[in-house]
């Protein structure tokens, strides 16, 4: 991992600087003993053996999947929700690189990193869920073009590669490989175009999966246009997760924000909030239109209708209005609150479509086994730890030193 420019420096010092945050090995190890790390270690220490258990004893032993609910938490949350929450990468990438809003450049790298880690976690979650993961490569060699899943598989594969390539910029910068970094910077525009292209296809295709199941998904959620709803909500998720992430990062990694002041972040947050309000409002009416199109208004009076109203009013209309109010009156806290509600709303929508309202007419409801939840939690924890590890070392949050 050494490089011409670094060779002059003593090896230990380079390693310490790059990996141990400038500390000695002893100091570094001591610095790891924090309450947060203890909890994370516990989660992972139980979770990794659970993943081994899943493969050693099978899906029957580790999940509550059944003949009537073959899709559970690992598909509904890890895959469906994980992918949509990682949509910030292409949303912000397009904003900065294509729409020329350079002021958002400060949050582009964290958004891309979150996207990349989110996709990797979703793919690992999928591999845990698949009954015969060793056959996954048949997807690429088989022309299964009648399947929406074929499209998703290809796009997720390509897009994860694009995210990885986009992330090589801070990575090469970190290693001091200036030439490679410069090459990747030149490719960034093309990569951003590809990221929008692949995201358009697979974010919508994740909804397209359900077009095949009108008898299964509740009519209030089913729509022949569900793929459009999924794409629009992916943009909402992209915007909202970036706001949530920026506000958390700004607190947790405060020393990292060298270039951008708190006032700058507030300004960006309000700008994002404005976009969020508009897209959420459009999404609200698209969803109304979907129900009209399905002639499903009669269902609104049922129990499922009440549940649908919770999603529509509490997690689509409310965050839209909060965003609008916050952005208009320059109240950053309101925008941040709205972003949290909006993210929860997207999670709720994906869980409804793939698990809750998906099983509405099934004899037995699906409730995940604790092992399913724990493995999901483990993957999430590993993702957060990886994010922290990278952010503490590579130029992600702070501006690149000129």
């Amino acid at each position: 991992m050494s490089d011409a420019t670094q060779r002059a420096l003593p090896e230990a010092s380079w390693f310490r600087r790059k990996f141990l945050l400038g500390m000695t090995a002893k100091e570094y190890l001591r610095s790891l003993f924090t309450p947060v790390n203890a909890v994370a270690a516990l989660v992972v220490a139980v979770g990794l053996p659970l993943i081994v258990y899943r493969f050693a004893f099978g899906l029957a032993a580790s999940t509550n999947l059944s003949q009537t609910s073959p899709w559970g938490l690992w598909i509904g949350f890890d895959m469906m929700t994980g992918i949509v929450l990682a949509a910030g990468g292409f949303t912000i990438g397009a904003t900065v690189e294509l729409f020329g809003m350079k002021e958002y450049e400060a949050i582009e790298r964290p958004a891309i990193l979150t996207g990349f880690l989110g996709y990797v976690i979703a793919i690992v979650g999928l591999l845990v869920d698949l009954g015969r993961p060793w056959n996954i490569f048949f997807v690429t060699f088989t022309n299964g073009t009648a399947s929406v899943l074929f499209e998703i598989a290809w796009c997720v594969m390509c897009y994860t590669t694009v995210l990885l390539l986009e992330f090589t910029i801070p990575f090469f910068e970190w290693l001091g490989l200036r030439n490679l970094e410069r090459v990747m910077r030149k490719a960034l525009l093309a990569l951003t175009v590809l990221s929008v292209m692949f995201s358009t296809m697979h974010q919508s295709a994740l909804g397209g999966l359900f077009m095949l199941m009108p008898g299964r998904l509740h009519p209030l959620w089913y729509s022949p246009y569900i793929f459009i709803l999924f794409f629009v909500s992916a943009i909402i998720a992209g915007i909202s997760t970036v706001i949530v992430e920026t506000s958390i990062s700004h607190k947790v990694f405060a020393p990292q924000f060298r270039g951008s002041s708190a006032a700058d972040v507030d300004k960006l947050t309000i700008g994002l909030g404005k976009a969020g309000a508009i897209v959420l409002f459009a999404y609200f009416f698209l969803k109304l239109q979907a129900v009209t199109d399905m002639h499903a208004w009669g269902y609104v009076r049922s129990g499922w209708g009440a549940w649908w109203l919770v999603e529509m009013l509490g997690f689509v209309l409310l965050p839209s209005l909060l965003y609008a109010y916050g952005a208009r009156n320059r109240k950053v806290k309101v925008v941040r609150a709205a972003s949290v509600v909006a993210v929860l709303g997207i999670v709720l929508n994906r869980l409804n479509v793939s698990i809750i309202a998906f099983n509405w007419n099934q004899p037995k409801p699906y409730v995940p086994k604790w092992m399913e939840l724990w493995i999901t939690l483990t993957l999430l924890t590993i993702g957060v730890l990886a994010f922290r590890w990278i952010v503490n070392r590579m130029p992600v949050l702070h501006e690149s030193p000129a």
Partner: protein
């Protein structure tokens, strides 16, 4: 008219075949019935074979009025597919059963009327759709529709995503979750036997004539003929003629199908057609997005004028 679906195209009608069970005489009667039905406007559904989806595919007609509930089909199925033998005896009828990973076909008992005097038996198995949702859902083509009718499964290609299970409008594919290399389990329509020119095991052993094996178009005509000749007995509907765009297993009954726990509300559209809109999008996205986005980029650069980006980003204007 049935829409075509990808590789499951319609084939020209040809008479005969090594495993045809409907004889020529019955076939002629069917033709006459169809003709007169069309003439006097009866709702008989017999149509020219050229219009029938999967006309040449092998099919089975189930006449539920003839089934005696002997479950010989279950036993034969278990033997043909190397499954555990079904539990013998009457008590199995006390509860409604579904197909499972160890039973590709099950026979259920239903009361015909309210007075418990008469019962009907119905055999359940994979319907072998002409345009199957499961096979269209499978990205690995592990589930595949054969030209002669069966929807088959190849575990060697399956990655175990279970999309087929949720896609099937009849909820037929089952999964062996307990295995370390789990498989999708469902009726194979005895594809290996059919390849040798034999009828499926269940249809071979049926002693009561409830199961008739033949070509789909001819069995549809035979079914319609029975309904036409006994209009007061049969429900005027061939279950599977239009359900899910047409299935290779066809049912006729003297009791409304919903009373026999047959799935009602299955769409008449071939299920793979439902996703055509979404699958039509990628070519447009791939051709239109890049120029559109580059146009936006050019526009945004134009607008920002001579404004220089911060140094070191490598994006300076030439």
């Amino acid at each position: 008219m049935q829409g075509g679906f990808g590789h499951f195209t319609r084939r020209p009608f040809r008479l005969g075949g090594p495993i045809m069970k409907v004889n020529r005489r019955e076939f002629l009667k069917v033709g006459m019935a169809a003709g007169s039905a069309a003439f006097i406007g009866l709702p008989a559904r017999a149509r020219a074979e050229a219009d029938v989806a999967g006309a040449e595919e092998s099919s089975v007609l189930v006449d539920t009025t003839l089934c005696i509930g002997c479950r010989a089909c279950e036993a034969a199925c278990s033997e043909a597919n190397a499954l555990p033998a079904p539990s013998p005896g009457e008590p199995v009828f006390d509860a409604q059963r579904t197909t499972s990973m160890d039973a590709f076909t099950v026979v259920n008992r239903f009361e015909k009327g309210a007075d418990h005097s008469e019962v009907r038996y119905v055999k359940t198995q994979c319907m072998h759709c002409v345009a199957p949702a499961c096979a269209s859902a499978c990205p690995n083509r592990a589930l595949d529709k054969k030209r002669n009718g069966p929807v088959t499964y190849d575990a060697g290609r399956c990655m175990g995503c279970r999309y087929c299970m949720v896609a099937c409008p009849f909820q037929i594919p089952k999964y062996s979750y307990n295995e370390l290399a789990p498989r999708v389990r469902k009726c194979t329509f005895c594809a290996p036997r059919q390849a040798r020119g034999l009828a499926p095991a269940c249809a071979t052993v049926c002693p009561s004539g409830a199961l008739t094996f033949g070509k789909r178009a001819q069995l549809l005509d035979a079914a319609n003929l029975r309904i036409y000749q006994n209009p007061n007995t049969y429900v005027h509907h061939v279950y599977g003629e239009r359900e899910a765009g047409g299935t290779n297993w066809l049912y006729i009954s003297d009791v409304p199908f919903e009373k026999l726990a047959m799935k009602v509300g299955v769409l008449e559209t071939p299920y793979p057609d439902l996703v055509k809109g979404a699958l039509g999008a990628p070519p447009f996205v791939m051709t239109l997005w890049p120029p559109l986005l580059m146009g936006l980029y050019a526009f945004s650069r134009q607008r920002s004028g001579e404004e220089e980006r911060p140094s070191g980003t490598g994006e300076e204007k030439p």
